[in-house]
C-alpha cells in the first residue's frame, strides 16, 4: 500500500533520514519506536509529504507521490494524520472542525457531513461536545476529536505522530482505546509512539529507528522478546 524507497531527508546540513526502505501492506499496524532525534517523526511526516523528501521515492496505492506533478491534496484526502499537539482548528467548533474538509473539498453535502460527524462523535462518546470550541476540551478529548476529524475523510491509512506524548497520564488510556478500536476495525495504521504496551498489543510489526534508518523490524513478540541488535537491546532496557 505504501512503498518507501531510499528515502533521504536533510534539514540544512542535518541528515535526518539516511536511505529508509520500507513496505507497508494493507491492514498492517506499524508501530515505530526509537530515541528522540532518530528520524521517526520525520519518516512519518514524509509519508504524506508534510516534509518533502530530499531524495527517494514514496508510492501510495500504486502512485508515485514524490513526483512533483502529482496533486498532493488529492493524495492526502486518503491519508489521515493525528498530531502530537492535536492541532484542532481553534477558531471552529468541534462540528466545524470535523466537517470543514469534507464540505470544502465537496466530498459531502453539509447535511451528510454533519450526520457522518455525529455518528463518529458518538463512536468516541463526545457527541455532546459538537458545538463546543477546542479551547474548552481536555487533551484527551481533543485528541479523540482529532482522530474523528481524520476519520471523517474515510482515509485508507492513518498516520499517528506521538498521539499520546502531550497528554496527562490519566488521559492516555482513552486515546489508546480509540486507536485500538480503530485497529480492530481493520484500518491500516502507522504509529510513532513511546507507548510500548500499545506497540506490543496492537502492532502487527514494530520498527526500531535510530540514526535515520530502520535498525530492526519484527513482530511484537520477537521485537520485545528477542531483540537482535545491541542498540535495540540497550534502548529496550531503558524504556521497559
Amino acid at each position: 500500500m505504501i512503498i518507501v524507497k531510499e528515502l533521504h531527508k536533510k534539514f540544512e546540513g542535518n541528515h535526518v533520514l539516511r536511505g529508509v526502505d520500507y513496505h507497508i501492506h494493507q491492514g498492517e499496524k506499524i508501530v515505530v519506536v526509537g530515541p528522540s532525534g532518530s528520524g521517526k517523526s520525520t519518516f512519518l511526516r514524509c509519508l504524506n509529504l508534510l516534509e518533502v523528501p530530499t531524495s527517494g521515492e514514496i508510492w501510495f496505492d500504486g502512485q508515485l507521490i514524490t513526483n512533483p506533478k502529482i496533486d498532493i491534496n488529492k493524495v492526502r484526502q486518503h491519508m489521515g494524520m493525528v498530531f502530537q499537539h492535536f492541532n484542532l482548528f481553534n477558531n471552529l467548533t468541534i462540528m466545524d472542525n470535523i466537517t470543514l474538509a469534507p464540505i470544502k473539498l465537496k466530498l459531502m453535502s453539509e447535511e451528510e457531513a454533519k450526520e457522518n460527524a455525529l455518528k463518529l462523535l458518538n463512536r468516541v462518546g463526545l457527541a455532546e461536545k459538537a458545538d463546543a470550541y477546542p479551547g474548552s476540551l481536555s487533551g484527551g478529548q481533543k485528541q479523540r476529536i482529532a482522530i474523528v476529524r481524520s476519520l471523517a475523510m474515510s482515509p485508507k491509512v492513518m498516520l499517528f505522530d506521538e498521539p499520546t506524548s502531550a497528554l496527562d497520564p490519566e488521559m492516555v488510556g482513552e486515546v489508546l482505546e480509540v486507536m485500538k478500536e480503530l485497529a480492530d476495525s481493520g484500518m491500516t495504521m502507522v504509529v510513532v509512539t513511546h507507548e510500548m504496551g500499545f506497540a506490543r498489543e496492537v502492532g502487527t510489526k514494530v520498527l526500531f529507528m535510530d540514526g535515520g534508518n530502520i535498525i530492526e523490524e519484527n513482530t511484537p513478540q520477537e521485537f520485545f522478546g528477542n531483540p537482535k541488535s545491541p542498540r535495540l537491546q540497550e534502548f529496550l532496557s531503558k524504556v521497559l
Partner: protein, 232 residues
C-alpha cells in the same frame, strides 16, 4: 464671577460667533474622511504586502515579491510622514489638485507599511500546526489560510490594528501642510485670528480625545466577541 464671564466670552468667540463651529465640524469631517479612507487603503494594501513578504519559493527562500515588500516597508518607515505628504503633493501627484485625495493616498500608502507588519505578525502567531492539520486533510494552502489561519490571524491583529487606526486619525493633523483645513488647522487658524489659543486648541483636543475614546470602547467590544472561541 469675572473669570467665568471671560471664559464664556472666549468660548463664545471661539465656537459660536459667526457660526464658527461650522468650521470645526467641516475640519473634523476632513480629518475623519482622510483617516477612514486611508485606513481602508492601508488594510487592503497591508494585507497584500504581508502575503508578499511571507511568500517563499519552493526552496524556502524569499521571492521577488518579498524583496519588493521589504523595500516598500523600509522606505515608508524610514521617512517622516510629513515629507511623504509633501513629496506626493508637490512631486508625485503634482497634477492632482484634490488635496483630500492626495492625503488619502499618502496616508493609505503610509499606513499600509505598518498594517503589513501587523498582519504578518498576526499570521506568524498562528501555530504552524494549524496549517499542517489543514493540509493533512487534503485542504489546499489557500483553503487552510482562508478558513483557519486568517480568521485566527485577524483576531491576533485586531488590537494593534485598532491602535494603528487611532494613530492614523491623529497623524492626519499634518494635512494642513498641503492646504487642507482639517480640525487641527481650523483650530490653529482660529488661534491666530482671535489672538486666543486656549479655547480653539483645547476644544479640538477634546474632539480628538472623544472620538478616540469611543473607538477604543467599540474595539474592546469587538475583540471580546472575537475571543468567544477561546472561552474555557
Amino acid at each position: 464671577m469675572d473669570w467665568l464671564d471671560s471664559v464664556l466670552d472666549k468660548a463664545y468667540a471661539a465656537f459660536i460667533a459667526e457660526n464658527r463651529w461650522q468650521l470645526y465640524v467641516k475640519g473634523f469631517g476632513i480629518t475623519m474622511e482622510v483617516a477612514v479612507f486611508a485606513a481602508l487603503i492601508g488594510i487592503v494594501l497591508g494585507t497584500i504586502v504581508a502575503f508578499m513578504k511571507l511568500s517563499t519559493k519552493r526552496n524556502g527562500k524569499p521571492t521577488i515579491f518579498a524583496h519588493i515588500a521589504n523595500i516598500y516597508i523600509d522606505i515608508i518607515r524610514g521617512t517622516p510622514s510629513v515629507l511623504q505628504l509633501l513629496i506626493m503633493w508637490f512631486i508625485v501627484l503634482q497634477n492632482c489638485k484634490n488635496g483630500v485625495l492626495v492625503a488619502c493616498i499618502t496616508f493609505g500608502i503610509n499606513s499600509g507599511a505598518y498594517v503589513s507588519e501587523i498582519m504578518r505578525a498576526g499570521i506568524l502567531a498562528v501555530d504552524k500546526g494549524q496549517m499542517e492539520a489543514g493540509r493533512s486533510l487534503g485542504l489546499s494552502h489557500f483553503q487552510t489560510m482562508r478558513y483557519v489561519v486568517i480568521p485566527q490571524a485577524f483576531k491576533n491583529a485586531l488590537p494593534p490594528l485598532g491602535n494603528e487606526f487611532i494613530v492614523l486619525i491623529k497623524e492626519t493633523a499634518i494635512v494642513g501642510y498641503v492646504g487642507l483645513s482639517d480640525l487641527t488647522r481650523v483650530a490653529n487658524q482660529m488661534t491666530s485670528k482671535l489672538y486666543e489659543a486656549f479655547m480653539p486648541l483645547i476644544g479640538s483636543a477634546v474632539v480628538y480625545f472623544t472620538v478616540i475614546k469611543i473607538l477604543t470602547v467599540l474595539l474592546a467590544k469587538l475583540e471580546r466577541r472575537l475571543r468567544k472561541s477561546d472561552n474555557r
